[in-house]
Amino acid sequence: MNSDALNPKSEGSSSTLLISFLNLNILFLLILMVLVMRNVTKLVLERKRGVLGARLKTKLVTAFVAFSFVPTVILFILAWGSVSSTMNKWFSLQIEKSLEESLNVAQIYYQTSSEEVLHFARTVASGGIPGNIRNAARQKQREYKVSALWYFSRSGKELAASISNDIPAGILTRPDKDAIKKALKGEYYTVDTLKKGEVVRGLSPVRGRDSNIIGVVVVDHYIPKRLVKRMREISNSFEEFKQHQLFKTPIKLSYFLLFAMVALLIIFSATWFSFFNSMTADLKAGKAGLEEANRDLESRRQYIEIILGSVAAGVVSLDKTGKITTVNHSAEQLLEIDTSRFIGRNYREILSQEQLYLMKGLIRELNASHEDTLQKEIQLKLKGKTLTVMVSITTLKDDKGNYLGMVIVFDDLTQLIKAQRMAAWREVARRIAHEIKNPLTPIQLSAERLQKRFGDKIGDGSEVFQECTRTIVKQVEELKVLVNEFSNFARMPAANPSPNDINEIAREAIFLFKEAHKGVTFQTELDNRIPGLNLDRDQIKRALINLIDNAVAAVRENGEVRIKTFYDDDLRLARIEVADNGSGILLEDKGRLFEPYFSTKKGGTGLGLVIVNTIVSDHNGYIRVLDNEPKGTRIVIELPVK
């Protein structure tokens, strides 16, 4: 017998694996079941609450379950029926009977062999120990056709032995002393396994005449290996059959569980998949909605950007931390800034000390007002210019009143105020001209009549009288000049342009001053490339005369006045510059230079530059006041070339 088969075995790893697999399967099934149950409950609740899409989801889930349930159940029944019927056939009575009969044959062979060897041993032993024991052993061995026959003495010593010639040498082994000793107590048989085959051995004690045991007869029946192998196969088949039969119910149960588990897995997976599918559909719908909302948001953003870009007012928005988030095109132009450098930066880092002070003041004022919006007109100094700006600051808040930031709207009122002032001053000039001019002539005529009639008649005081009347007449003349200027300003005629050479007009204007102001150096730098321009010759000449007059006054008869013309081919502009090296203009005065009656010149009417500005504007041109290098003022007129 194989001793390995009898060794107690520790728990097999295969069994552990099977248990783990089964438990894992069950666990997975339970998890799936819980998930499905949870989703079913959720679906039922959604249906009760009337959630949108719940009905569609129910239909989808039902369809999936129905489509998977029916074929799975059919497959399960078929598979289980097939396995069950096959197993019943395996363990059928006919097979058991035939296997048992086969085993019986083998068992009978062993039984018969053992009975025979025992019978022969007993028969031989009954004859006692013969005289010629060797011949007797050979004779009996041949007579009974046994494989071997031995005579042993009581002490276990071999007396004679005869082994059949059919048995290969060295196969049969002599019985050991223990076996002989056991046989002295009574006959018995053994079946021993040899290297090549088995031997059925019968042992019987030999009694002497006085019934005392004097020896042992051993008779062997050798079973060849091939025969043993065949019989062992029959035995193994029967054992295997019995073992399988023993486990018939567990095997069937295991198959049943396996199929049931697979079927349940399919059904639950399909159900879960249907939920997953509905979820995917929900997600898809959500994503589409989100994309639609994004598109809508983007188009709104673009729309707002276009609006912001096209409004004349400058718009700057800040977030709650003070970072600049939006600067529209108008704000960019008004403030003369490069937006890309300012977006995302805090206004506190960008503004100058003075501007920051102004800004903080506005914010303080807004907070103090407890209103959401503050409007205020301010003077904004930017790169040498002073702008009059209407600032509107609005705080942004969400639905819950949380502060989100602010929007600052700048409205440049500089030109508007200038125009308003100009209109007001024209009205003033017209009235002054009207109210003063009318009595001036009677005053002058009256003074002249007084002089003519009483000039000679007054004795000692006639010189005083003459002087006074002359003064009245002279002052009235001066007043008339002043009133005429007022009148000219108030009733500035519309420009009447015709093709003219600007350089020629410039030369004529300079000529008027060259002779009168010998101490002043006049330098001209005229660009001959300038094409003919559509100009009102008289008005432009008047404008240049005004500018040169101012320049001459600034250098006080001892300096340099430079007149330069230049043609900008790219911009198609004719540029006329009148520069002096006088004392220059203060920054705060620059903004007011073109206002009527504002003059830095002693005795000036304050109308010269206003008239120049009006003429240039009427010619669609632009006038700028700049500092001259190294000192003085430079006034630049730019006229378009058509």
């Binding site: 017998m1 001793s3 107690p8 075995k9 097999g12 069994s15 099977l18 089964l22 486990f247």
Partner: protein, 184 residues
């Protein structure tokens, strides 16, 4: 949470089946004695051969009984240090061709072959004159506690049935610890 508890309970019930016949099998006729050298013990497992185990043996499946024997010092009501712990096994295998049972008792180091199933069962269930501990290891007038337990070892099934251990494990038996106290 309740659902989770139910799952864990169910899984643990499936994964660790309780031996079905543990209440029937028990250690009987324990006898403690000594020869010149050793403390020897005798005992018998009753109720171990349930019909399913007998059937398994008859179908040629090798079956093993494991006996665990432990000897403790005892002080009052509490167990003291363990003096000896031994594990012995009895294995039986039926040969359908020869119609005999081969029994191997690990403590005897000999193989007994018999055609008598009753005798084979007796040999499997009985432990006779097992020398547990050398007498030199024991002290006179000292109280000791002997504990014995028997259980069916994993039944070694031929493939592919070895994968069905999961079900076969329901036939296991395991006795309670049999405790015998004595004073040497």
């Amino acid at each position: 949470m309740q659902r989770l508890t139910a799952i864990i309970l169910l899984v643990s019930l499936i994964s660790s089946p309780t031996p079905a016949f543990s209440e029937q099998a028990r250690i009987k006729n324990t006898l403690i004695t000594n020869d010149k050298k050793d403390l020897t013990i005798y005992f018998y497992v009753d109720g171990s051969f349930i019909p399913k185990i007998e059937e398994a043996i008859q179908s040629g499946i090798p079956t093993t009984f494991i006996f665990r024997i432990q000897l403790y010092n005892k002080t009052g009501d509490t167990l003291g240090p363990q003096i000896k712990s031994r594990k012995i096994s009895h294995t039986i295998k039926y040969d359908a061709l020869r119609k005999d049972y081969t029994i191997i008792a690990s403590e005897k180091k000999e193989t007994v072959v018999t055609q008598d199933f009753k005798k084979a069962k007796e040999l499997m269930a009985r432990v006779d004159a097992f020398p547990l501990v050398h007498l030199d290891n024991l002290q006179k007038d000292t109280q000791y506690s002997l504990q014995i337990k028997a259980e069916l070892d994993t039944i070694k099934l031929p493939p592919p049935l070895n994968y069905l251990f999961f079900f076969a494990s329901y036939w296991d038996f395991e006795t309670e610890w049999e405790t015998v106290e004595f004073t040497y």
